[in-house]
Amino acid sequence: MNTIGVPIDIRLPLTDEAVASLRAGMTVRLTGPCYTARDAAHKRLVEMLDRGEELPLPLRGQCIYYVGPSPAPEGKPIGAAGPTSSYRMDAYAPRLLALGLKGMIGKGARTRPVLDALRREKAVYFGAVGGAAALLARHITASGLIAFPDLQSEAIRLLTLEGFPAVVLADSYGNVFPEAQA
């Protein structure tokens, strides 16, 4: 299954059926709402969970994009917006997956605990091409601040994706693309 084929259109938030249909190595075009969060926001979210507080974003069925965009020029919803390295979120991701998070978009390899959580919680990890930040920005049609404005580029935002190009790097069956990364 590890070949790049014709991209499949996937709506966000992800349904269980959509997650079940995805296999590592498939190319997709993602359309719909997606939250941003990276290192500092993940740390705060998990600290809020530790304190028993309600999170500023819903997790069930949702997708998180690991991105810290550059500032938006006037008239555009967002600046350059490519993925950051996902492994830095591995310490936090299984906790969010257990609360219903269904998708993550980033770049690079994940560690075993995250791959195991994807299989256990029936979720999926998408890769966007690292460094294709201006191209990817063309597939983001809206951006609004949700939480942690003091974190600047690391604040949590709600994006609207439109045909956002990605590859399934790890699916809900334990498959990884490329296989060498398993």
Binding site: P73, A109, G130, A132, A134, R138, Q152, S153
Partner: protein, 281 residues
């Protein structure tokens, strides 16, 4: 004595960081297009096509090539006949960086305290400045916008003399293997061999800005560069880590005298965009 105003220095620094972040260097673009055209893996080709298209998207939309517009690193070779007027050198460099990142809508990625507060400085300052005094009355500036996806994958190894050429070769290739897909391959690899702990790292950072294809003047080091290049490409990590033919665009080594007990090796990894720009005042 030649006078250079701090205002001129500041303006030059601003222009360098804007250029480095917005315009892909011609040698890098050419290498990426060649990698795309040669690629036999459909997945790696998919990634390389996006990366080459991205250069045009950035130019057309007035965006930086990558959202991680880096920490601002400046190498300044200052001629000893130069006198800076109307301000202070470090302040002028930081003012230039501030102007580029704030006015140029580049991402502010610097936190003031690394361990406890991690509060954003809001202007991407302070810059990391490596100034050296050289003969003459010119100032040569090399600006590197260094992203941390690749910086985090870099290593310094305090090898000892018995490790020899093979030990250095293995250390370079192993660094690229451990980095895998994380530093945004195809990567550019800068290597510093010799000196001490920090000089090795400085040489490695400086070497990442060498024009592609230019080899070390000593044929023995040039051969090591070529062998490391081939070995890293043979790892098969490929563009974006999707597999394929091209994992590395260049391996550039700088070398320096070292201690009788040591063989320091630093490997600084840079992403495929290798954002740098230079000028002479």
């Amino acid at each position: 004595m030649r006078e250079i105003s701090c205002a001129a220095l500041q303006a030059a620094v601003t222009e360098l960081f804007l250029k480095a972040n917005r315009e892909i260097a011609p040698d890098i673009r050419q290498a990426m297009e060649a990698a795309r055209d040669a690629e036999t893996s459909p997945a790696a080709r998919y990634a390389l096509e996006q990366l080459v298209d991205n250069y045009d998207c950035a130019r057309e939309d007035g965006l930086p090539i990558c959202q991680d517009t880096g920490m601002a690193v400046l190498f300044a070779e200052v001629g000893q006949e130069v006198h800076f007027t109307g301000g202070q050198f470090t302040d002028a460099v930081n003012a230039g960086v501030r102007e580029a990142y704030v006015r140029g809508l580049l991402r502010k990625s610097v936190v003031a305290d690394p361990l406890f507060d991690r509060r954003n400085t809001l202007d991407n300052c302070p810059a990391i400045i490596h100034a050296s005094i050289v003969p003459g009355d010119r100032v040569r500036l090399l600006a590197i916008a260094k992203g941390f996806g690749s910086e985090n994958m870099s290593r310094v190894g305090m090898l000892t003399p018995s490790a020899g050429e093979q030990g250095v070769f293995i250390y370079i290739v192993e660094t690229a293997r451990l980095a895998g897909p994380n530093p945004c391959p195809p990567i550019v690899v800068g290597v510093g061999i010799g000196g001490d702990f920090e000089q090795a790292a400085l040489m490695a950072k400086h070497a990442t800005a060498r024009p592609l294809g230019q080899r070390h003047p000593d044929p023995r080091y040039a051969d090591l560069e070529n062998r490391a290049l081939d070995a890293i490409n043979a790892l098969g990590i490929g563009a974006a880590g999707y597999g394929g033919l091209t994992t590395v665009l260049n391996v550039a080594i700088e070398s320096a005298p070292t201690h009788i007990a040591g063989l320091p090796v630093a490997v600084n990894i840079c992403c495929h965009a290798s954002r740098h720009a230079e000028t002479t005042l």
